[in-house]
Symmetry: C2
Subunit: 638 residues, 2 copies
C-alpha cells in the first residue's frame, strides 16, 4: 500500500470536499417565468369570486328542514356545509381536501405562502412565518366554494361549480404549459407536484358537468323530495333483514390449503366495495389524501436527492483517487479504475435510494388499503352490531365527549400527517437496509469486494456451530425423547422428566447466547413492524392493556365512537322514515297509521297492503328492532 508524499497531498487540496461545485457538468440556468395570465391577478379574482358565490349561494338557498323559525328560513346560513354527513358526496369532498393538502405542501415548502402578497424586503423572515400561518386558513377558504356548490344540491350550485372548477383547471393547465420549468428543487418539480391538483380539478369539472346534466329539468318542474342518502340507509336495513344465503366467503380461518390462504391474505389488501355498506365520508377523504400525501413525499424525496446523485456521479473524474487517498482509502492502484468504481458505487447508492422509495410506497399504500379493508369496514360493522368488546378489547361508552369530538375533527389530518411521517421514516430505514444489503452482501457476492461481513461470519463459525448444535439437539430431544404420544396428545413422560431437568441446566449457558440472538431479532422485528405500521391509525403500536396510550390509536377509536353514535345507519333509516311523512296538523291516530305506513320501507315492492302483508311487515320491523338491540342474536339466524 503506497501513500503519496506530503507535497502531492497539498496539490489536490482543492478537491478535498466532494460537494464542491464540479466544473465538468454544465449547470442549466432556468430563467424566471412570467406567464401570460398573471398569477397574482388570477388568485385575487378567484378569491373575490369565491366569496361572492358563497354569499349568493347562501342567499339563494332556503333552509328547508332545520331551524325554520330562525330568520324565517332565509337565508340558508351554513346550509352549504353538511358535506361531512353520511350522505355527502365522497368524490367531491375527497377532491377538495386533496386540493387543500397540495396547497399545504406548497405553503410549507415554497417561498410565497400566499400568491398575491409579496413581503417587504426588510424583516422578511418573520413576515413569512405569519403569512404561512395565515395561508393555512386561506387555501381552505379559496377551495371551499368547490365543495359548497355540490353540497347545496341545486341547479344554481352546479352551474357555479362548473364555472369555478373549469376556470381553475384551465388556469392551472395554462400556467404549467407556460412555465413547465422552475428553479426550485428540481426543474420539473413544480409541474410534477401539481399533477394531483390537475387530476382533482379535472375530476371536479367532469363531476359538476355530469351533475348539471343529470339534475337539469330541461322540460319539466318535477322536484325530488327524497332525503339525500336515504337510499343507502334503506339498503342497509334491507341487507340487515335479508336472510343470509350460504355463500363462499373467503375467510382466513375457514380456509385450509396454503394457496387459498395466500389468496385470502392478498384479498385482505384489496378494497372491494360491499353492497349495502359504504365507509364514512371522513374515511374516504383520509384515504384519498393519504395516497396524495404518499405521492407528494415520494416526489419530494426523489427530486431532492436523485438529480444531485446523478450530478455527482457525472462529475467523478480520475482525481477522485487522490481525494480517497487523503482519507486513507485505496480502492485500486489504477486511477481510472478508481474513478469507475466510485461511479459504480454512486450508481449503487442511487439504485438503493430509488428502490427504498419504491418499497416505502408499496408498504404505505398496502397499509392504507389493508386499513380500509380490515379495520375501517370490519370495525364499523362490528360496532354497528354492538360488538364493543371485540373492537376495543374493553367496554367503552359509545357517547360523544369533548376529546372524542376533537379527535373526530382531526382524524383526516392526523391520518395524512402520519402517512407523511411514516413514509419518511420507512424510506430512511429501508434505504439503510438496502445499502447494507447492497454493499455488504450483493457486491461481495458479485465482485468479491467488501468481504467484511463474510470474514466476520467466517471468524465466528465455531460460535455459530455451537449455537446451532445446541438448538438442534434441544429440539431433537424435545421431539423424540421427552415427549410421548399418549391418546392422541403429546405428554411429558415420567421416565425422562429428570433428563429434561438436567438438559435444561446444561444448556443454560448456550441458551443465554441464543437468547441474545433472540433479543436482537425481537428488537429488529418489533422496530420494523412498528415502522411499517406507523402510518396506520387503526392499530396501536403498544401492546394489549396500554393500547390507549398511543395517541394515534386514541384518535382512531374516538373517531369510531362519534361515527357510530352519530351516524348509525339503522337510526338514520328510522329518521328518514319519520321525516318522509310530514305530519302537520294530523291527529295521533293518523300519525300511528303513518308509522304503520313506514313499515313499507322494508318491503321491496309496493303491492296493496293486505292483512297478511301488514303482519309480515310488523314482524320484520320487530325483528330489525330485536336484532339491533341484541346484536349477538344475529349470528344465530339461519
Amino acid at each position: 500500500m503506497s501513500f503519496p508524499n506530503k507535497s502531492a497531498n497539498e496539490d489536490y487540496s482543492d478537491y478535498y470536499y466532494i460537494d464542491d461545485p464540479l466544473p465538468t457538468v454544465p449547470v442549466e440556468i432556468i430563467p424566471p417565468c412570467n406567464p401570460m395570465i398573471f398569477n397574482d391577478f388570477y388568485h385575487g379574482s378567484i378569491v373575490f369570486m369565491s366569496v361572492l358565490m358563497l354569499i349568493f349561494l347562501h342567499l339563494a338557498v332556503k333552509r328547508k328542514r332545520l331551524c325554520q323559525d330562525c330568520w324565517g328560513g332565509v337565508p340558508g346560513l351554513l346550509s352549504t356545509v353538511n358535506f361531512l354527513e353520511g350522505d355527502g358526496h365522497r368524490g367531491a369532498a375527497s377532491a377538495v381536501y386533496s386540493l387543500v393538502f397540495c396547497s399545504i405542501c406548497r405553503v410549507v415548502l415554497g417561498h410565497d405562502p400566499i400568491p398575491f402578497i409579496r413581503d417587504t424586503p426588510k424583516d422578511i423572515k418573520v413576515c413569512k412565518e405569519y403569512w404561512k400561518i395565515l395561508a393555512l386558513l386561506y387555501y381552505p377558504i379559496v377551495y371551499y366554494v368547490l365543495l359548497a356548490c355540490e353540497t347545496v344540491k341545486s341547479i344554481v350550485g352546479y352551474i357555479m361549480g362548473v364555472f369555478v372548477s373549469c376556470t381553475s383547471f384551465g388556469f392551472l393547465i395554462w400556467q404549467r404549459v407556460q412555465c413547465p420549468k422552475t428553479p426550485e428543487i428540481y426543474k420539473y418539480y413544480s409541474l410534477l407536484s401539481s399533477l394531483p391538483q390537475m387530476v382533482c380539478l379535472g375530476y371536479l369539472s367532469c363531476l359538476y358537468i355530469y351533475l348539471l346534466v343529470r339534475n337539469c329539468n330541461w322540460f319539466g318542474t318535477k322536484e325530488k323530495t327524497e332525503i339525500p342518502g336515504s337510499n343507502y340507509y334503506k339498503e342497509y336495513v334491507r341487507n340487515l333483514l335479508k336472510k343470509k344465503s350460504v355463500t363462499l366467503v373467503i375467510d382466513l380461518k375457514s380456509v385450509v390449503t396454503v394457496s387459498s390462504r395466500i389468496v385470502a391474505f392478498l384479498h385482505s389488501f384489496i378494497y372491494i366495495p360491499q353492497k349495502g355498506f359504504q365507509v364514512p365520508v371522513q374515511v374516504a377523504i383520509s384515504v384519498t389524501v393519504a395516497i396524495i400525501a404518499v405521492y407528494q413525499v415520494a416526489l419530494l424525496l426523489v427530486a431532492r436527492v436523485v438529480p444531485t446523485l446523478q450530478k455527482a456521479r457525472a462529475g467523478v473524474t480520475e482525481d477522485i483517487a487522490f481525494v480517497l487517498t487523503g482519507f486513507n482509502i485505496e480502492l485500486s492502484q489504477d486511477r481510472a479504475e478508481v474513478a469507475d468504481l466510485v461511479r459504480y458505487y454512486f450508481w449503487v447508492i442511487e439504485v438503493c435510494y430509488v428502490s427504498a422509495i419504491v418499497l416505502s410506497c408499496l408498504a404505505t399504500i398496502s397499509m392504507i388499503m389493508r386499513s380500509m379493508v380490515m379495520h375501517s369496514r370490519a370495525n364499523l360493522k362490528a360496532l354497528y352490531r354492538g360488538d364493543v368488546l371485540g373492537v376495543f378489547g374493553r367496554r367503552r361508552k359509545l357517547q360523544p365527549s369533548r376529546l372524542a369530538l376533537t379527535c373526530w375533527m382531526a382524524f383526516t389530518s392526523y391520518q395524512s400527517a402520519l402517512v407523511c411521517l411514516g413514509f419518511l421514516v420507512q424510506q430512511l430505514v429501508f434505504f439503510i437496509c438496502t445499502l447494507f444489503v447492497g454493499f455488504l452482501i450483493i457486491i461481495p457476492i458479485l465482485y468479491g469486494r467488501n468481504l467484511i461481513l463474510f470474514y466476520l461470519f467466517k471468524s465466528m463459525w465455531p460460535f455459530w456451530l455451537g449455537l446451532v448444535l445446541a438448538l438442534l439437539s434441544q429440539n431433537l430431544l424435545a421431539q423424540f425423547a421427552f415427549l410421548e404420544k399418549q391418546e392422541s396428545c403429546l405428554e411429558i413422560t415420567n421416565r425422562y422428566r429428570r433428563a429434561l431437568y438436567i438438559s435444561t441446566y446444561l444448556f443454560f449457558a448456550y441458551n443465554v447466547l441464543l437468547g441474545v440472538l433472540m433479543g436482537v431479532w425481537r428488537m429488529i422485528f418489533t422496530a420494523l413492524f412498528n415502522i411499517v405500521h406507523l402510518c396506520r391509525l387503526d392499530l396501536s403500536l403498544l401492546n394489549r392493556g396500554v393500547e390507549s396510550f398511543d395517541p394515534g390509536y386514541r384518535c382512531y377509536y374516538n373517531f369510531l365512537k362519534i361515527e357510530v353514535s352519530q351516524a348509525h345507519p339503522v337510526m338514520k333509516a328510522a329518521c328518514c322514515l319519520l321525516a318522509c311523512f310530514p305530519n302537520h296538523g294530523r291527529n295521533p291516530v293518523q300519525e300511528a297509521s303513518d308509522a304503520e305506513e313506514g313499515i313499507q320501507l322494508v318491503l321491496t315492492d309496493r303491492k296493496p297492503m293486505t292483512v297478511a302483508s301488514i303482519k309480515r311487515a310488523k314482524a320484520r320491523w320487530w325483528l330489525a328492532y330485536t336484532l339491533v338491540m341484541n346484536p349477538s342474536l344475529a349470528a344465530c339466524r339461519k
Copy 2:
C-alpha cells in the same frame, strides 16, 4: 473569529487525536499476580472432586419411587436432578444458576475460558473459540455438584455440600485477597465482578450448614416419609377451599382517590409473597439471574468508560484550544478558559453517563419486579383457575408440544439474555437523552451557552403560537359549542352540527401540522416504551392480534403452558394424596377406604372421624373438584 495560520496549524499536529496517550497522567502498572494457591491446581482438583462426589451420590442414593424395576432400584441414576420440580429449593437453584451466569460473563469477556488449559501460541484465536464453546458446558458441570447435594435430600449430600461450598468460597476469597488488582478493563473490575459469586457461595455454605444441622438426627433414627413439597400443595388446596373473608384488597380499579391510586401503583412494583402461592422454581431462578445480570452489565459499562473519561479529563491541558481551533470550534479567546470548559464538559458527560446507568438499573429492576408481581403470579393464578382467554387473549390448548418444551427449557436463559440486551439498549438511549438534556437544556439555562435549541424555538414561535391557538380553539369549541348536556350525557346538538363540519374543514391544515407533532410523539413514546419493556418476556412488544410474532412473548406463553399443564398444584396435591398411602398387596375395598382416608388431607386438625365429618370432607372434596373443573364458579362463591 481568528484562525491560526498554517505554520501554527502544523505545530500542534501531535495533539490532533484526543485518544492519544496523555503524558501528564501517570499510568499505574499492575504486575501479574501469582496467588499462593494456584488457580489451575484448584480448578483441576475441584473438577475431579465434583465428578467423584457425583458418582458417590448416585451410588449412595437408591431410587425409591420411580422405575423401581429398572436396575433393581440401585444406583439412583438421575436422582439428583429433580431440582426444577415445584418442590425444589428455590434458593439453592438460584444461587447455582447465578454462579453459572457469572462464569458465562467471564468466559465471554475474559482471555482464558477454562482456567487450567492454556493455548499454544500458534493459531491462538481459533483454539480460543473452541475452548470458549466448551467452557459453556464446563462451568455448569463444575457447579452442578452444589445443586445435586441439596437435591438428594440426605445427610451425605448435605455433608458434601458443606465441604464443596465452603472450599470454593474460601478459595475465591483467598484468591481475591491475594490479587485484588488485575490489568484487565479496570484494576478492581475482577474483584467487583466476582462479588455476586462470593455472595452466592457464602449463601450456599450457610444453607448447607443449616440443612445439615436441621436434618441431622443426632440421637435418633426416625426418618421422615413425607413427599417433599406436599405441604405447599396441601396449603394451596386449603386456600382454594377456604371461604373468602371480606378483606381490604388494594386494587387499581376499586380505588378512587389520587393518593391511593399512587400507592396501589407503587404497590404493584413490590413483590410480597402471598400465603398459599409460590412462584415456579424457574421464575425464581430467572429473577435472581436477571438481577445479577443487571449488576454485571452495569459494572462492565462503568468500568469500561468512567476511568477512561476521568483519565481524559485529567489530561486536558491548555493545548486543547489549538486542537479545537483545528476543528473550527472556538469556545473562548482565553486558552485557560477553554481548558476549564473542556474539563467541565468532560465532567458533564461523565455525570450523564453515570446517571443513565443509574436510570437503566432502576428501570430494569422495577420491570423485573413488576413482571413478578403483575404477571408471573397473576397469570399463573388465572391459568390455574382456567382463565385461558383472559391471559392469552385467545383460546389456546394447555398441552405440551415440542415448541413449548424448548421454550420452557430456554425460559431462564432468555430472560437473563434479554435483561442484558435491554439494559445495554436502555443505557445507550438514556445516555443520549441525558446528553441532550444536559447540553441543550441545563447548560444553556445555567451558563447561557449552547442556546441552539432556544434560538430554534424562538425563531419558530409564530408557528407554535398558531398550533396552540388552533388546538385550544378546537377544544373550546368542542367543550362549549358543539356539545350540550342532555339527560346526564353530552350530545352533539343539531343546531351546531354544521358549524362542527365547517370548523373541521377549516382546521384541516392546522391539524395536519398538529398531526406531524402527534406522529413524532407517537414514535418517541412507542420507542421509549418498547425499549424500557424490552427486558420483559411477559409482555409482547407487538399489538393485539400479532402478539405471538414476538419471540420473547412466545417463549413466555409456552413456558406458562408447560408450567400449568405439568405442575398444577391441585393435581400435585391429588398425586401426593395417592402417593402417601402405599397400597402394596391390599384389596380394592381396602384401597377405597384408603382413598376415603385421604380426605383427611383437607382437614386442618386430625380428630377421630365421625360420620358428619366424613360427609363434610366428601362435600369439600367435591367442591374442590367442581371448582377446579369450573373455574368461573369460583367468582360466584360468597
